[in-house]
Amino acid sequence: MAQAAPVIQPDLELSYEVPEQVTLLTDAWRRLRRNRLALLGGAIIAVLFMVALISIVWTPYPVWLQAVGPTYQPPSLHHLLGLDQAGRDILSRIMGGALITVEVGIGSAVILSLIGIPLGLLAGFYRGRVDTVISFFINIWYGIPDLLVALILVFVLSDALHLIPRGVFVIIVAFSLTRWMDVARLVRGQSLALREREFVEAARMAGGRDLALIFRHIFPNALGPIIVQATFAIPAAVLFEAFLSFLGLGLPPPTPSWGAMASDGYHGMDFAPHIVLAPTIALSITLMAFNWLGDGLRDAFDPRMRR
């Protein structure tokens, strides 16, 4: 190995620009705009949403319609991504899968935030016994393979107890029930720190009620990290759905879930690889886009945390 000149950070770079007075969101947006990878991720996500919306009203062929042509037909002008083992148009099914992906991703992010944020705020704001109980659950969660618990929950809730029919909703619920701890832990930390800050102190002196303090002063100031955490929850949920459906434990056929499509195509992989490639590539690009956007948001909201 060549003895390169040792790399030592010069003091020059440590001096930060003097920050102008801007709000958290505009400042973050300015930093985000400079991050090309995050912008690319955002663009891909925008396309995904558009495709999902379009698929509600129009797809080249109905997603469930079998035998629109010969089975296993490779991509052609009529069927851009080819046909699958039941002779269904893969492009149409990918579009339908986009809708499911968006539903699962956004639905999970919203529901787990709705569980995690209040619990985190309670634990951080009231501390004491409330905190002990909530923190206990958070700590237990770090000792288990959470996706597998979620998998069992899906099974118990729909197949065994017949509480929720097997579908997108049960996946969202099971995922959120096992994943709220991430958001809760973050919010708890934030509100523990924020409740000691001067402006919260001042509002308390002015006689603000607890609820008003929490929602007017603590929650808005923890918003940045919450958005980041929620963004990272989306690809995790999407992956969870694909994982379940791939194993045959998720969405029932003929739902055009990308995971299920990969599972279908995997058996004919030797002679018709296009069936398995389309959904797996779509899934990977989607996950990538959300991760890039999440990374960008994290850097934008907290430049000191940059990795």
Binding site: Q3, A5, P6, I8, Q9, P10, L12
Partner: protein, 327 residues
């Protein structure tokens, strides 16, 4: 050291941290380099070992050690040179020792890297070295980790590491700034004694004028990457010529003058290295500037036997700055 120039290529353009430095250090001599933060003194010191941090580069000049030019050395030559011919003691002993390695091992490693001592000798020398720098119970403490040492002891360990190969030049970069006042004196004493024992030259980098006065034979005053004044300690302190040296000395507290006057701080800030003023780099803060100072940079000229300064005013033989100030 001849016409040394160190430049940093940053996103905002090239920054010249050290610009045309020229000086010699003789065997056994203790030379003080003083100046404010950012005046380029640390960069000058680091360039002797070619340790300038990225993206900095030595863009011109030579650093001669005996016959060899440090700037031209191959990677292997410079490695042999570092810590062997020239050793360096850094400013912050809290962060300069590796937290996960035992102190004794870090000292031993410095010797093992070079051929001066055999493996056996390197190992056996550690305890005596630590004893020599007066680390109490050195025998037991060689196996300690740095976090178990106090700041002063860590700096002693750094010094032990520095002198372990009996270098002919010891560079001490503000060795006492990060330390408690009470241990500063003993550390300095240690550096002086050891350099005498080893007949090594010392390059002491500091902004503490009192330290320079008590320790150094010669002083080099730096400002904005340049030498502004240079000469024997005695003459510099008795008869400072450059207005910057003069202000530096005035900003130093003196026991005998406590009641006479308030400390004078130098007004203004040192210039931004990326946007240097034209002419003399000190003119924006100088009380004695003349028109020429704003356009043309003065050369380093002899103002007294053995004493050099970089100032137009002195060359025109204007009255002593002290006299001007009293008006």
């Amino acid at each position: 050291m001849q016409d040394l120039r160190v430049q940093f290529a940053t996103s905002g353009g090239t920054v010249t941290a050290v610009d045309g430095i020229d000086f010699d250090i003789d065997r056994g001599e203790i030379v003080g380099i003083v100046g404010e933060s950012g005046s380029g003194k640390t960069m000058t010191a680091l360039s002797v070992l070619r340790l300038i941090p990225e993206p900095g580069k030595i863009t011109s000049g030579r650093i001669l050690f005996g016959e060899k030019d440090v700037v031209q050395m191959t990677d292997e030559e410079i490695r042999e040179f570092r810590g062997n011919d020239v050793a360096m003691i850094f400013q912050d002993p809290m962060t300069s020792l590796n937290p996960v390695l035992r102190v004794g091992f870090q000292v031993e490693e410095a010797m093992a890297a070079h051929r001066r001592f055999s493996r056996r000798q390197s190992h056996d020398r550690v305890v005596p070295l630590l004893q020599r720098v007066r680390i109490p119970a050195a025998k037991d403490r060689v196996r300690d980790f740095p976090h178990q040492f106090s700041g002063g002891m860590r700096q002693r360990a750094m010094i032990a590491m520095g002198v372990s190969n009996e270098p002919s030049l010891l560079i001490a970069d503000e060795p006492t700034t990060a330390l408690d006042v009470t241990v500063q004196a003993s550390i300095i004493e240690l550096v002086r004694d050891l350099s005498r024992e080893l007949r090594a030259a010392v390059m002491l980098i500091t902004h503490n004028m009192a330290l320079v006065a008590s320790l150094c034979n010669r002083v080099i005053v730096m400002y904005a990457g340049r030498i502004v004044e240079e000469g024997p300690t005695r003459s510099i302190f008795k008869n400072p010529q450059h207005p910057y040296t003069w202000s530096l000395l005035r900003s130093m507290p003196r026991v005998d003058e406590v009641e006479k006057e308030r400390l004078i701080s130098i007004k203004g800030l040192p210039p931004d290295l990326g946007r240097m003023p034209p002419g003399c780099k000190f003119h924006p803060r100088c009380k004695f500037r003349i028109d020429r100072c704003m356009t043309e940079e003065p050369p380093l000229g002899e103002v007294d036997p053995g004493q050099m300064a970089r100032c137009w005013v002195l060359m025109k033989n204007v009255p002593n700055p002290e006299a001007v100030a009293q008006k």
